[in-house]
C-alpha cells in the first residue's frame, strides 16, 4: 500500500473526503479535448473541403503538398511534398499538424489539463490517483515535454502564416482586394486568439525576460516580461478560446467549401 494508504499515515479508507464536485472539471476537460481530437483527426484525414477562395482551413495552412487544391498553396513555400509516399495517399494536413499539435501537447497549461483529465495524475487536488508508480517528466516519453520552446518557435511561424491567411481573406473569390466577409471576421478572431495564446505562453515569458537575474539592467526586456506576465494570467483562457477559434475557422471553411453555406460578403 502506498500513498495515502501508507502504513504511517492516518488510517482513512476513502481515496478522498472531498464533498464538492471535484470530478466535474476533469470530466468537462476530457469531453471537450477528446471531441476536438476526434474532430481534428477526422478533418486531417478527410483531405477535402479545406479551401474556398480566399479561405483556407487552418488545419491545412500552409498547404505544402502537390495534391493541394489549386490556389490554396502559398508560392513562398511552394509544394515540396508529394501527395503519395510508398503508394499511400497523404493528406496535406498531415505534413504540418505536428507543429500546432506539438505546441499544445507540450503547453504547460494543457499538460495540467490532460494529466488531470486523461491520465488522472491526479484527477483533482487531494484525490488519490490510481497509478502505483510515478516518475513525472523525468524519462521518455514525458521528458520530451522539455521541447516546448521549439514548438513555440514553430507556432510563431504558423501564426504569421495564419495572419497572412486572414489578410488574404480581405479579398473576394476573384482575388480582388478591399472586400470583407463573415470568413474574414472568423479568421481575424481565430488568428488574434492564436497570437494571444502564443504571447501569453510561459516559454514566451521566459524568453523575453524570465531568465534574467537583474531586471534593472534590462529595462526593455523587463517591460516586455511584465506585459507578458499579465497575459500569462489568462493563458488557460486563451488556450481554450484559441482552440475553439481554430476549430470554428475550420468548421466555417468546411461549410463554405462543401457548399453547405455561402461566405456572406459585407462589401
Amino acid at each position: 500500500m502506498s500513498g495515502v494508504f501508507s502504513p504511517t499515515r492516518a488510517k482513512i479508507k476513502e481515496r478522498t473526503l472531498r464533498t464538492d464536485k471535484w470530478w466535474l472539471q476533469p470530466a468537462i476537460t476530457f469531453g471537450v479535448l477528446f471531441s476536438f481530437v476526434i474532430y481534428a483527426t477526422f478533418r486531417a484525414f478527410e483531405n477535402k473541403y479545406y479551401f474556398s477562395e480566399p479561405l483556407i482551413s487552418p488545419f491545412y495552412s500552409p498547404c505544402l503538398s502537390t495534391s493541394c487544391e489549386p490556389g490554396s498553396a502559398l508560392s513562398f513555400f511552394g509544394q515540396p511534398f508529394n501527395n503519395k509516399y510508398f503508394g499511400i495517399g497523404i493528406s496535406p494536413a498531415l505534413f504540418i499538424l505536428i507543429f500546432p499539435l506539438g505546441f499544445r501537447m507540450t503547453c504547460y497549461y494543457y499538460r495540467k489539463a490532460y494529466y488531470r483529465a486523461f491520465w488522472l495524475s491526479p484527477p483533482a487536488c487531494a484525490v488519490a490517483e490510481p497509478h502505483t508508480k510515478y516518475t513525472g517528466e523525468t524519462r521518455a516519453p514525458l521528458i520530451l515535454q522539455n521541447s516546448h520552446r521549439w514548438f513555440f518557435y514553430a507556432g510563431l511561424i504558423f501564426n504569421v502564416i495564419l495572419t497572412w491567411d486572414a489578410i488574404l481573406a480581405f479579398r473576394n473569390p476573384e482575388k480582388e482586394w478591399g472586400h470583407m466577409s463573415v470568413g474574414t471576421l472568423v479568421f481575424l478572431f481565430s488568428t488574434t486568439m492564436l497570437w494571444l495564446y502564443s504571447l501569453s505562453c510561459h516559454t514566451c515569458r521566459h524568453t523575453l525576460g524570465g531568465r534574467l537575474k537583474h531586471f534593472s539592467k534590462h529595462p526593455v526586456r523587463y517591460k516586455a516580461w511584465t506585459i507578458v506576465s499579465v497575459l500569462n494570467h489568462k493563458h488557460p483562457t486563451f488556450a481554450w478560446i484559441s482552440l475553439f477559434g481554430v476549430a470554428g475557422a475550420d468548421i466555417y471553411v468546411r461549410a463554405v467549401a462543401s457548399g453547405a453555406i455561402s461566405n456572406f460578403y459585407f462589401f
Binding site: 500513498g3 495515502v4 472531498r18 495540467k112 491526479p122 521528458i143 531586471f215 534590462h218
Partner: protein, 253 residues
C-alpha cells in the same frame, strides 16, 4: 447566535484510528479551529491539534477539511452549508502522530538539503545593494508561511511515498527559485541540482500546490515553470548551450 454543527474528527495514531462524529455549538463568524477548540474543551479533552497564531500566519493548523488541505484558522464555518457535516482529518501526505497532528519533519530535512544564499565574495555584506524591481520577484516567495499545504496536496509524494527521497516538493522549489532569481546569489548550479537532486522534473505542473496556497503564491507559474524553463536552458536546449559557450556566460545575466 449559536447553532449546532455536525463535525467528524479523525482520531487515532499511526497504528489505528477512525472518524468520530460530534455535535458542537458554533457561533457566527467562527472558523473551524474555533469549533475544534470547543470540542477539545467540552467533549474530547485529549484531542491533539497543532495551532499557534490563529491568524493565518504561522502555518501550524494545517489539516484537511472536507478533504481539502486548508488552514483551520482561515476556514470559515459559514462557508459550508448549515446542514453540512464538516470532516476534519490530519494531513494525509505525512505520518500521523496523534489525531490532527502529523509529523512534518520531512520538510525540514528537505530544507536542509538546499544550499543557502551565496554572497558575492567581492561585496562586503553591508555594501550589497539591490533595485526594487529585482527584489520583487523573490519577495512573493518570501510570503511562504511553511504551512506545507502545498507539500500535502502534491500528488508526487502524497500518492507515492517512495518519491519522498528524491522529491523536494513545491515549497522548496519556490525556495530554489527565490535563490536562483536572486541578483546577488553566486551559486551556479542551482538549476542542475533542482532537476537532478531535488526532483523538479517529477512535477507535472497540475497546479494543486498553487490552488491550496493560503498566501496565494503563484507557485507553479512564478517558480516551478520558470525553473523548468531554466533547466531546459542548460540541459535540453542545444542552441542555448552553444550560445552560452560562445558568449562565455551562464545564460543568466
Amino acid at each position: 447566535m449559536a447553532r449546532k454543527l455536525n463535525l467528524r474528527i479523525w482520531r487515532g495514531d499511526s497504528t489505528n484510528g477512525a472518524l468520530q462524529d460530534v455535535q458542537v455549538d458554533v457561533n457566527e463568524g467562527e472558523v473551524v479551529l474555533d469549533v475544534i477548540h470547543r470540542v477539545q474543551a467540552t467533549q474530547m479533552g485529549d484531542l491533539a491539534v497543532r495551532w499557534n497564531c490563529k491568524a493565518g500566519k504561522c502555518g501550524s493548523c494545517s489539516m484537511e477539511i472536507n478533504g481539502k488541505p486548508r488552514l483551520a484558522c482561515m476556514t470559515q464555518v459559514a462557508s459550508y452549508g448549515e446542514d453540512e457535516t464538516i470532516t476534519v482529518t490530519p494531513l494525509r501526505a505525512f505520518p500521523v502522530i496523534k489525531d490532527l497532528v502529523t509529523d512534518v519533519s520531512f520538510n525540514y530535512k528537505k530544507a536542509m538539503e538546499i544550499p543557502a544564499y551565496a554572497h558575492p565574495a567581492d561585496v562586503a555584506p553591508g555594501d550589497a545593494r539591490m533595485e526594487q524591481i529585482d527584489v520583487e520577484r523573490s519577495q512573493e516567495f518570501r510570503k511562504c508561511i511553511e504551512c506545507f499545504l502545498c507539500q500535502d496536496t502534491c500528488h508526487v509524494i502524497r500518492d507515492h511515498e517512495e518519491n519522498k527521497k528524491s522529491f523536494a516538493g513545491p515549497r522548496f522549489f519556490i525556495r530554489i527559485a527565490e535563490l536562483d532569481m536572486h541578483p546577488l546569489d553566486t551559486l551556479k548550479n542551482r538549476k542542475r541540482t533542482a532537476q537532478e537532486e531535488h526532483g523538479l522534473g517529477m512535477c507535472n505542473i497540475t497546479k494543486c500546490c498553487t490552488e491550496v496556497c493560503p498566501e496565494h503564491i503563484r507557485i507553479t507559474d512564478n517558480a516551478i515553470i520558470p525553473m523548468k524553463e531554466r533547466v531546459v536552458d542548460i540541459k535540453y536546449d542545444p542552441a542555448r548551450w552553444l550560445g552560452s559557450k560562445i558568449r562565455k556566460r551562464d545564460g543568466i545575466v
